[in-house]
Amino acid sequence: MSAPEDGADIVYWPRWRPGGHRVGAHRGRDAGGLGTFRDTVSFLRLPDARRIDIRASLRDPFEGVAVRRFEARSPVETYALIDLSASMRFRGRADRLGLATAFCTALARSATRIGDGFGLMAADAAFREDLYLPATRHRAAATLAAARIGEATCAGASAEGLMEAARRLAGRPKLVFLVSDFRWPEAAITRVLSALALHDVTPVLLADTLEDDGLPAFGLVELDDLEGAGRRLVLLRPSLRRRWRQREVERIETLRRLCTPFARPPFRLADRFDAEALTRHLLTT
């Protein structure tokens, strides 16, 4: 089914029990079908003679007839919310937008393979209608939409359009991956996360080791802000590098703190997309 170069699938485990009548891959809220045993109910409630639980019926002192119920398997919808502000143009060890594309492609593949829907929303200062994909189980369409991210232009100076994306996500809970470098003001992060609080949100922090560990120990660097915050000349030296890295660590810690009330802890996606690492993150948080 999957080509060998596709790499590993992202395995996720929704935090909630999805409802709905469609058959999917996740433990659903409702009972029905041939799944994992859920509970026994009275025959009067579920008059299904094929699933009478004889052992439970005999154990019942009131001589009622018990029927086994099984968990329904339901699909979820996964959405990738991509921040397309200008800082996503950054190219260090890896192309930041390339990383986002790799992630989206893997998620599109992983989701559609198990019958989940994959949707894509991108936003810079405004919501990007051209890249919008409502959740679909159509695998080719999902993969195509994911690939389009790689060719997108990032020009905006903010990611305010994500608020519109959050509005469009209203409804049943969804599995949302918020892909960004989170170079936002803290207030903006909180606003977006609280707008998405209904969903199972996993922030995917795009990082580059060149931006912290890869900094040279000494040298003159003129930093040019991709989002137009101006230029700054910096004389890198061991003490400043230490402070810089300390600051990055603090930034990630702050992001983690901001995410705690609304979302899973952020997943740091640096240099190379590793589906297994994301799987581990999703299954352990």
């Binding site: 950054f90 890896a94 660097v221 040019d224 989002e227 004389l235």
Partner: protein, 355 residues
């Protein structure tokens, strides 16, 4: 010539229209830009901020220096009037044939020194010792010769004096020489001490009509008159009365002296019968002529291009140092990934070869 700013100017002023270019470092910098997702990621650093200001300044300095240097800056020449101790000295030097002889009245031979050579040596020293005097040199024999107008150029005066021992010729016509020497003083300036130094080894009769003219001239110029009489041994002194008739023709020296005395200007005559006596007389004159004198000093036009280039070089040096200290870490990272990719490609090639 550019419009001088004070005493400064530039040779090609239109190049200064390029000066707004010097503001370019405020817009762009020489260092390579590193696009980064957020500048705020870098912690605030006063040293870097100071360095940035310094490098911008260096850029401004380099461009300004280069443009100004190309325009060719200079400080315009000017004359400064100062006051020193000295006098306007007009020298009137006898160039008649007899000056070629020694004090003994012979042609010089061996170690001997002619009167002209001795006076050249001693007057040269006189000129050298007086810092702020103005000198004019006039020579005369039959006709007066304007050697050097009144000037403070010491070298020129010394050169003029060193020329007076060229072989002299003809006779002594002191009257016209005096006239020209007096005319060297130019218009009267208050508080300027003037001295007329006549160096001769003989005298001549002055025509009574010219005497009147000279009298008028002397009365106008009012110089201190010094007569350095280089007396040849055996020739009559200026004080000697002739044995016979006491006419100007018989004793021209004595009558010239009398004429000078009658001029009503401060007058001293020095009778010198040898080089030492001449030197002593000059020393006396030097001691007498010590009055304050305003003199002009000319500062020549000075080319400032070198300084402008030096300023530009300083700025460029700073910029080059900054360039050498530059670290392009994003490119380094890309290269590192490229190297990582390369071995995989080689491995693939080997596999293909094996197959």
């Amino acid at each position: 010539m550019g419009a001088p700013l004070g005493s400064f100017g530039v040779a090609t002023p239109w190049l200064l229209w390029l000066l707004p270019l010097a503001l370019l470092p405020l817009l762009r910098s020489a260092t390579r830009r590193t696009a980064i997702s957020a500048v705020s990621a870098a912690p605030a650093d006063p040293l870097s901020a100071a360095l940035s200001a310094v490098l911008t300044g260096a850029g401004l300095l380099a461009l300004t220096g280069l443009i100004v240097a190309l325009a060719g800056p200079y400080r315009a020449g000017e004359s400064v009037t100062r006051t020193g101790i000295g006098a306007q000295v007009s020298m009137l030097i006898d160039r008649s044939g007899s000056m070629n002889e020694t004090f003994a009245g012979r042609q010089p031979s061996g170690e001997e020194e002619s009167k002209a050579a001795a006076s050249r040596r001693i007057l040269g020293a006189f000129v050298g010792e007086r810092a702020h005097d103005l000198f004019a040199v006039t020579a005369f024999s039959t006709a007066p010769m304007l050697v050097m107008p009144m000037t403070d150029r010491r070298d020129a005066v010394r050169a003029a004096i060193s020329a007076i021992d060229r072989p002299g010729l003809d006779y002594t016509n002191v009257a016209r020489g005096l006239g020209m020497a007096l005319s060297q003083f130019g218009p009267a300036a208050p508080g300027v001490s003037r001295a007329l130094l006549l160096v001769s080894d003989g005298a001549a009769v002055i025509d009574p009509r010219i005497q009147a003219q000279l009298r008028a001239e002397f009365a106008k110029v009012r110089p201190n008159l010094y007569w350095l009489f280089l007396r040849t041994k055996g020739s009559p002194s200026i004080h000697d009365k002739p044995a016979g008739e006491d006419t100007p023709q018989a004793a021209p020296e004595r009558h010239l002296d009398l004429f000078f005395k009658s001029l009503a200007v401060p007058y001293r005559a020095f009778e010198a019968e040898g080089a030492e006596a001449v030197a002593g007389a000059v020393r006396q004159i030097e001691a007498l002529e010590r009055d304050p004198i305003p003199y002009t000093e000319i500062r020549p036009r000075r080319d400032l291009t070198g300084y402008a280039y030096a300023v530009a070089a300083l700025g460029l040096l700073l910029l080059v140092l900054a360039k050498l200290a530059e670290a392009d870490f994003l490119r380094q990272g890309a290269r590192a990934t490229g190297e990582r990719a390369a071995p995989a490609g080689q491995a693939g090639a080997e596999r293909r070869k094996a197959a």
